[in-house]
Symmetry: C2
Subunit: 228 residues, 2 copies
């Protein structure tokens, strides 16, 4: 089993490297959004895209076991979106993203959002070629999730603590949740947001814009093919 | 890959059959609680156990990637609990439950709750030998989860729609969620509950008690070994 797992991850990493080069050559900033089902990723995306367009071109890859609901919600904002249905699968892998990139052809110097299948376990192990994994955690899920699903919180650069508008109606200790996240990943950045009410979105969007600029600046020029 | 998957599931099913016989011989009713992370399974369990003890003996198997928090919360109610940490694993399998049953030795004519790893995808495929899978869906997760994760809602007998005390603060259409669940599983039973406030728990506990009685009545006597 361990051998099969290693083979799968090694093959995935090849595709991830290909994706990373594809994105770097075009100065595209790619974010892989991961979370439990129902943490509010799609609403966060639609609200973010509305605020980022048209100054920043955006493309979205949507992952779900079934339905094209999310891609439809994204397209309604004006951003191109491709839905990947994983069927029995519990995560996106890099080869799925590679095929999606071929079909979507995201514009140069744009932002690519990848919304992974809602799952705090399996997507942690799969590099898709993204610049960062961003974990969205809804405050309705309890403070202890970083300790219970440490791989995901270790893999993420940023934790978005979503649905903070519901805090008055919950018994929830924000400081404790952040302490737990830092315990498994001392470097993790944290932002408190409400995708539906708009709280904290400015900070998150500033983070996206900043990384989009640095991806543009760090743009890797395709290797010049020597003339024969 | 398909072959590897079939081999894993076939091996799992052998252990599940063993568990099912073990439970049937002892008249034990076993429920496998499945959901996203943070849907409120552990709180539902602690509140249920407080109301079911001491008239109904209860044992609990807890699954999480990391931490023994949940088993500790269960033990505080007075019910014996064993924590399984799956590490990188995204679900409990039947062999883990088999080993847990050996260690726990749940009493005859009791109820066994198995709280699976929080994951709406992978645990759907793994029979643990339980009588029923019960899917817990928090209303904060949105209405569309049954359509997006149909395997889990097909595999479940009962959907507990939890955290209904938060409905006044959400945009959530209960009827639509139930319609979606029935679309993927026309036979699914539905109950609306709030584990923290107590709403609907009586109905859920009546369901547990009823199945505990039928497990007792249907108790399979161990095969009599012929005298030599």
């Amino acid at each position: 089993m361990v051998q099969v797992e290693q083979d799968i991850l090694a093959k995935n990493n090849q595709h991830a490297r290909f994706n990373r080069e594809f994105l770097a050559e075009r100065g595209i900033f790619a974010v892989n959004l991961v979370s439990s089902p129902g943490s509010g990723k799609t609403t966060l995306l639609t609200e973010s895209i509305k605020r980022l367009l048209p100054s920043l071109p955006i493309t979205v890859i949507e992952g779900d076991q079934q339905t094209t609901n999310d891609a439809e919600r994204i397209r309604a904002t004006g951003a191109p979106a491709l839905q990947i249905n994983t069927g029995k699968g519990c995560h996106l892998d890099a080869s799925m993203v590679e095929r999606a990139l071929e079909r979507l052809q995201p514009p140069e110097e744009s932002v690519l959002f990848i919304e992974n299948v809602g799952n705090l376990v399996c997507p942690a192990a799969f590099d898709l070629g993204e610049a960062h994994k961003v974990v969205v955690l809804s405050v309705t899920e309890g403070e202890d999730k970083p300790l219970k699903y440490p791989d995901m919180f270790k893999a993420a650069t940023l934790m978005l603590l979503n649905k903070v508008d519901l805090l008055p109606y919950l018994t929830y200790d924000v400081a404790k949740c952040i302490e737990y996240a830092r315990r498994v990943n001392p470097a993790i950045e944290v932002m408190q947001v409400s995708a539906t009410k708009g709280d904290g979105l400015d900070t998150w969007l500033a983070w996206v814009r900043l990384h989009a600029v640095t991806a543009r600046h760090a743009r890797v020029q395709p290797k010049v093919v020597a003339a024969e």
